[in-house]
C-alpha cells in the first residue's frame, strides 16, 4: 500500500541530508557542563580553609607577641648593664655646701 505521506517524508529526508551536510553537531562533552563537585564537599573544603585561616592568624599573632617580649628583654638588659655611665647631677654635693663661682666677688678684700 502506498503511503500517502511519502512526498512529505521524502522532503524531510532531503532536509535531514542537507542539515547533515551543513550543520556540524558539537560533541556532547563541549556542550555538557563540567563536572561540579558536590555542595557538601565544597562546604567541607570551605570550613577546613576557615579553620586553617584562624589557626594561622592566631599563630602569627602569638609570634608577634614573642618578638615584642624579646624586645622588652633587650631594653631591660641595656638599662641594667650600663653602670659606667656618668651622671650629670652629682648627688654627693648638697645645696648647703654649694658655692657659686661668682661668690669670690662678694668677698671683701680685707678679710
Amino acid at each position: 500500500m502506498k503511503d500517502e505521506n511519502n512526498d512529505i517524508k521524502e522532503f524531510f529526508e532531503n532536509l535531514r541530508t542537507e542539515d547533515d551536510r551543513n550543520l556540524k553537531v558539537p560533541t556532547f562533552e563541549t556542550i555538557a557542563p563540567k563536572k561540579s563537585r558536590p555542595v557538601r564537599f565544597m562546604a567541607m573544603v570551605a570550613s577546613v580553609a576557615a579553620v586553617l585561616a584562624v589557626v594561622l592568624f592566631l599563630t602569627k599573632q602569638e609570634s608577634n607577641e614573642k618578638v615584642t617580649a624579646q624586645n622588652e628583654l633587650v631594653l631591660t638588659i641595656i638599662l641594667t648593664t650600663e653602670e659606667d655611665e656618668e651622671f650629670l647631677l652629682d648627688d654627693r654635693s648638697s645645696l648647703s655646701e654649694w658655692q657659686a663661682s661668682s661668690d669670690i666677688l662678694l668677698k671683701e678684700f680685707d678679710e
Binding site: 505521506n5 512529505i8 542537507e18 542539515d19 550543520l23 553537531v25 556532547f28 556542550i31 557542563p33
Partner: protein
C-alpha cells in the same frame, strides 16, 4: 524514583545529536544560540532543576525542556519572536538556493513547521508532539494536516 546523574548523563549523550538539531530548530537555526540553549538544558537536567518523572519517553521530555528553554533564552535576549507565530527570516538569494528545503519549510507558519519537523524529522507521534508543544492532541492534529497541505502546495510550485 529519581534517576542518578550518570544515568541522566548517558541518556543525554544518547539523544545529543537529535537534541542539538531540535535546539537549532527552536533557535531559528542560529547555532550559537542553539549551543547556549542546549548547555542550559543539560545544566538544568544534571543539577536536578528539571526533573524527568518518567511519564513520557526521555526524548519527548528533553525536547519539551529544550523548547521552553529556547523561549526563555530569546525572551531574555529581547529578540524573541513568538515561536508559535510567523517568523520572517531574511535570507539572501544564495542562502535560499543553497538551503532550498529549509527555505520552503520556512514559508509555513512556525507552529506547522515545528509540528511537521517533530513528526517527520524527529519521528515523533502526534501524542508526543502534543506533549512537547504543550498542546491538545486535537490542535496538533489540525496543524499537522494543515501543515502537510501547505507544504504540498509549495512543493508543487
Amino acid at each position: 524514583m529519581t534517576m542518578t546523574k550518570s544515568t541522566l548523563e548517558s541518556l543525554l549523550k544518547k539523544h545529543h545529536n537529535e537534541a542539538y538539531l531540535w535546539s537549532c530548530q527552536c533557535c531559528h537555526r542560529q547555532e550559537d544560540d542553539a549551543k547556549d540553549v542546549l548547555q542550559l538544558v543539560y545544566l538544568k537536567v544534571l543539577e536536578g532543576k528539571a526533573t524527568f518523572k518518567e511519564q513520557s519517553s526521555f526524548k519527548t521530555w528533553l525536547f519539551s525542556v529544550i523548547r521552553f528553554t529556547a523561549i526563555d533564552h530569546f525572551k531574555k535576549q529581547q529578540k524573541h519572536v513568538s515561536l508559535d507565530g510567523i517568523v520572517i527570516v531574511e535570507e539572501t538569494k544564495d542562502d535560499a538556493e543553497e538551503n532550498n528545503y529549509r527555505a520552503i519549510l520556512m514559508q509555513l507558519p512556525e507552529r506547522q513547521q515545528q509540528i511537521l519537523t517533530l513528526a517527520f524529522y524527529h519521528q515523533m507521534t502526534l501524542a508526543e508532539i502534543a506533549e512537547v508543544k504543550n498542546l491538545h492532541i486535537g490542535t496538533v492534529r489540525t496543524h499537522y494536516e494543515r501543515g502537510k497541505e501547505a507544504l504540498r502546495k509549495r512543493l508543487k510550485k
